[in-house]
Symmetry: C2
Subunit: 200 residues, 2 copies
């Protein structure tokens, strides 16, 4: 085995994080096809060609944003359920974290998650497989959470998960910052399901 090469250390003024942030913001708002490479680099005073030092293609850039989005929201949800034991409490906490990560736009953290929800893998054929894999990986969190619920016999847990996540994700289209908070919306949706499904 050859000795490990001395790690090439990135420079401090590396603007790759800025590219990711701006790409996340624009992909979230305008979609993948509605955003040009020039749109992205314009805001950070870069030339279009320079982006290709960091990414081989526009689709590879999307894959990077997508990966970061899954990482962030997975972390938020995991942190939210870490302290809790009761299954319904855990699911509610997860839904609140999911929706806050998606809709809360302060510090632009929500942009990354919105890309995961909004951009269809089919929009970027060369990385579609990777995107689907990452989304599935995230949703597995919710498979487990729903699995742990004490439900009456005969209730299809897959339907429960799909209904809840679908309703949450769709809120992206009608949510307005001034009105009900993401936390309130998430709790309400869980409550609408809960008492019916709870077996006691």
């Amino acid at each position: 085995m050859p000795p490990a090469r001395p790690a090439r250390v990135p420079r401090a003024d590396n603007r790759l994080p800025l590219i990711l942030d701006e790409a996340a913001r624009l992909f979230a708002v305008q979609g993948f096809h509605g955003t040009s490479v020039r749109d992205i680099v314009r805001a950070i005073d870069m030339l279009p060609g320079s982006l290709y030092y960091h990414f081989a293609t526009k689709e590879a850039l999307l894959a990077a944003v997508y990966a970061e989005g899954v990482r962030r929201i997975s972390e938020a949800v995991s942190a939210a359920i870490a302290g809790k034991r009761e299954p319904w409490e855990r699911l509610e906490a997860a839904c609140v974290a999911h929706l806050e990560g998606l809709l809360l736009s302060e510090n632009s953290a929500g942009d990354y998650a919105q890309v995961v929800i909004r951009v269809r893998p089919a929009d970027a054929p060369t990385v579609a497989g990777e995107l689907v894999r990452r989304r599935d990986e995230y949703e597995r969190l919710f498979v487990d959470l729903v699995q742990a619920l004490p439900l009456a016999r005969g209730v299809d847990r897959r339907s429960v998960r799909l209904m809840l996540l679908g309703a949450l994700n769709w809120s992206q289209t009608w949510y307005h910052p001034g009105r009900d908070s993401p936390r309130t919306i998430a709790r309400r949706f869980v409550a609408l399901l809960r008492s019916e499904l709870d077996q006691e």
Copy 2:
């Protein structure tokens, strides 16, 4: 008032309907920005410029497809609830019709409805106002259906509607033709809500 001009009658070989069909199909699958004018006319052996005899802009074409989509799914839902009296039965029938109109791809009727669900008004700024108006007009059907439900006091009817429609619309992303039918999915989602909300 001048006498009405004799109506200019369109020709029988008018290919405008073909343009609408193909645009609906492609906008549904690839999105608005992911579809070019050339993509649309290619399938019907037309030249790109010829489209502009029928529509002033690509966005005006989208508006026409959108309007037809709302018209079709409104009609399907209205027909489905026409015979029924019981409020929960009416809501279920409406949800089944909504989802079948959205997911059933036989005779390509679903393409128009999918455009309504998939394309964001903001994607076409010059017609965004019209698109929002039409979508709201359609959703008013469901406002009334939920309004008629005999619910326990304190249940937020807006949340019930948003949760249900959100879950249904989101199914577009995970639905697979081989598995559960749109009818089954719609009924299951209504059932998950129903017993909890029903006041008896």
